[in-house]
Amino acid sequence: MTYNFNFSVIWRQFDVMLWGLGLGLLLAVISLAIGTVIGLVCGYAFRTNNKTLRGLVWGYVEFIRNEPLLLLIFFVYFGLPAIGIRFFDKYESFVITLSIYAGAYLTEVFRAGLTSVPERYVEAAKAIGLKPWQTQLYVVLPLTFRIVLPSLSNNLISLFKDTSLATAIAIPELTFTARQINANTYRVMEAWLTASLLYLATCYLIAIALRQIEKRYSVIK
Amino acid sequence: MSANPAASATSESAEPARNLLVARDVHKSFGQTEVLKGIDLTVTEGEVVALIGASGSGKTTFLRCINLLEEFEQGSITVDGDPVGYTDRGGSRRRLSEGRLAAQRARIGMVFQSFNLFPHMTAAQNVMLGLVKVKGMAKAEARSLADHWLARVGLADRADHHPYQLSGGQQQRVAIARAVAMDPRLILFDEVTSALDPELVSEVLGVMKDLAKSGMTMLVVSHEMLFVRDVATHVVFLDSGRIVEEGEPHAVFKNPKSDRLRAFLGRFTDIIGDITAR
C-alpha cells in the first residue's frame, strides 16, 4: 500500500512540538541537577565507616535501579497522595521521581569517581596544609567532576529520553504532543517520524556539546 | 629427536635440499608508504634464516606476508611449491578463499612477539586447539601430542596452567609448542624474545636452538645477534624494504660490505667484537 506523506499538519504544530521538546529537556536538566546532589551525598556516604548508612544507600541504589521508571512515576503520582504525601502538581511529582531515579545511577557514578581520584593529590593537598574539608572542596571534588563528566553526559541523554514517560501522566512534552497530533490528525507517520528525528537530533547535539566540555575539562590523563 | 623426519632424510642423502620458501619481488605498501620494495628470498629445507635490520626496515612485515597476516600487492611467495594467498586466474590476481588460506596457514607455523596465547585455555588446550579443529585429530591423541611437545619445551608440569599463571618465557615456550605441534613445513619467529625480561630470553632461545638442530626450517626475525651468529645458517639484512646483504652469518658479521649494515652492526659492538675475536 502507499502512504501519502503530508507534513503540513506537522509544520502547523511544530512550535507545540518544540515546546514539548524544551519541556522535556528542562525536566531532564532539573532532574540531573537534583540527582547529582543525591549522587554526591550518597557517594560520600559510601565512603564513611558507618555500616548502617552504607547499607541504606546500597538498598536505595539497588532498589531504584531494579524498578521500572514508569511504575515509580505512577507510585509517586497516584500512590503517595493516597497516604497523605501530596505534591504541588504533576510536574513536581515527575521531577521528584526522575531525580530519585537519576540519583541511584549517579550514586554509582560518584562512588566510582570519588575512589578514582589518585591518592597522591590528596596527599599533596594535606602536605600544603589544607584542612580535610578544604581538600575535598578544592581538590577532590573538582577532580571527581572531571572524571565523571562523560558519565554525567550519558546520564543527561538517558534522562532526556526518560522524560518521554511523562506522557503517561499527561505532561505535554514531545511524546505527548506527538501522540496528540497522531490522534487528532491521523498523520501517524509524520508525527512519529518528526518526534523521532527531534529526539535523535537533540541527543546528538547534547552529545556533541558535552564532548566539547569534556575535552576542555579533562585534565587527568 | 626429530621435528621433521623428512628433513633429516634429505640431509643424509646426496640430493640437493628442496626450496621450501621462494619469495619473488614482494612489494607491500601501507597507504602511500612502500615498506617492501621487492624482496627476493629462497629458504631451503632445514635452513635457519635470520632476518635482521633496524625497526621499520620491513622484516616483520615480510614475515607476516608469508602467512598472509599482511596482504601484499605484488610479487609471489611460494611455500613448498604452493603459492601463498593469491592465484593467477586469467592474468588477474585473486585472493584465495578463507578456507584455502586457513589450510595454507596450518602448514606454516608462527610465533609472535607478544605470545598471543589464548587466555581462556590452558597450555595444553592452546596446543590442542589446532590439532583438533584444523587437523581433526581425536582429543586423546591431541592431548598426548600436546604433552609431548610441552615436555620438549620443558613445561611438562605446566600443561594445565592458564597463560596468566605462567611467566613470559614459559608462555612463549607454550606458543612455540603450539606452533611446532601442528607439524608445519616452516616456522616463522617474529622477535619472539623482544617482550621478555632479559633473564627469560635464554630459555626461549634454548628451545629454538633445539628445534633448529632437529632440522626444522625456520625464518627468524631477531635482534639477538649471538643467537643469529650461532644458530642461523643464513642471515639476511634488510634496510628500507630491500635486502641489502645476505650470506653466512660469520662472513656477513665479519665483513659487512654496505655502510648501512656496518652502521647497524655498530650498535652491537660487544657482539661484533666477539665475532671478530674468533
Partner: protein, 220 residues
C-alpha cells in the same frame, strides 16, 4: 465489608498471574532475540563490508537515540497504518526487540573490538577458519566482557516491558492498575508490583555477577 489486602490479592490473582506470564514471556522473547541479533549485528559491525557496517551503525545509533516509548508508539500506530494487522503485543515486542538488538549489537561490537588483535592473528596462524576463530577464540573471551552490559540491557528490557501497558498490553503493571481501579488499594498493589520487579531484576543482576566470576579467570 472490610477489604483486606490478602482478600483482594486472591480476587485479583488470575489477572495478576496473566500479567506475570505476559511480562515474563515478553522479557524472555525480547532478550533472546536481542542476544542473537546482537551477536550477528556485532559481527557485522566489526567484520561486515563497509556499506553493511555503515547501515548497521546507522541502525544502532538511531535506535539508541530515540526513547523506547516513542519506538513502541511508532511501531504500534505505524505498523497498523501499513496495513499490517498486528496486536499491541506484537507491535510492542517488535519495538522492544529492535531496541534490545541495537544495544546488544553495540555490546558485542565493543567486546569483540576489545580483544587484542594478536588473538585473531594467532588463531589464523594455526589455520583456524573464520567460524572457528569466532567460536573457539573470540566468543569465549568476548563473553566475559559481554556479560555485565548484556545483563544491564536485560534488566532495562524487563523494565521496558512496563511501557507496553501504555498501548494496552496486559502486563504486570496494567494488571496492577486494573486491580487498583477496582479496590483503590493504591499503595499495597503498587508495592506488590514493585516487589515483583525488584525480585526479578535483582535475580538477573546476581546471575550476571555469577557469570562474570565464572569467566573471571581470563586475563592477559
Amino acid at each position: 465489608m472490610q477489604r483486606t489486602y490478602l482478600g483482594e490479592l486472591m480476587k485479583a490473582k488470575w489477572s495478576l498471574l496473566q500479567g506475570f506470564i505476559t511480562t515474563m514471556e515478553i522479557s524472555a522473547i525480547v532478550i533472546v532475540i536481542g542476544l542473537i541479533a546482537g551477536m550477528i549485528g556485532g559481527l557485522l559491525l566489526v567484520y561486515g563490508p563497509k556499506p553493511v557496517r555503515l547501515l548497521m551503525r546507522l541502525y544502532v545509533d538511531v535506535l539508541r537515540g530515540i526513547p523506547v516509548l516513542v519506538l513502541i508508539l511508532f511501531s504500534y500506530y505505524g505498523l497498523a497504518l501499513l496495513g499490517v494487522n498486528i496486536s499491541a503485543y506484537t507491535a510492542g515486542v517488535v519495538a522492544l526487540a529492535g531496541f534490545c538488538s541495537a544495544h546488544m549489537s553495540e555490546t558485542f561490537r565493543g567486546a569483540i573490538d576489545s580483544i587484542p588483535v594478536g588473538q585473531t592473528e594467532a588463531a589464523k596462524a594455526i589455520g583456524l577458519t573464520f567460524q572457528q576463530r569466532f567460536i573457539y577464540v573470540l566468543l569465549p573471551q568476548a563473553a566475559r566482557r559481554i556479560v555485565p552490559p548484556a545483563i544491564n540491557t536485560a534488566v532495562e528490557m524487563v523494565k521496558g516491558t512496563t511501557l507496553l501497558s501504555i498501548i494496552g498490553v496486559l502486563d504486570v503493571l496494567l494488571a496492577t492498575q486494573q486491580t487498583i481501579a477496582r479496590n483503590y488499594m493504591v499503595i499495597e498493589f503498587y508495592a506488590t508490583a514493585m516487589l515483583f520487579y525488584f525480585v526479578l531484576n535483582f535475580t538477573l543482576s546476581r546471575m550476571g555477577a555469577y557469570f562474570e566470576r565464572r569467566f573471571g579467570f581470563i586475563r592477559y
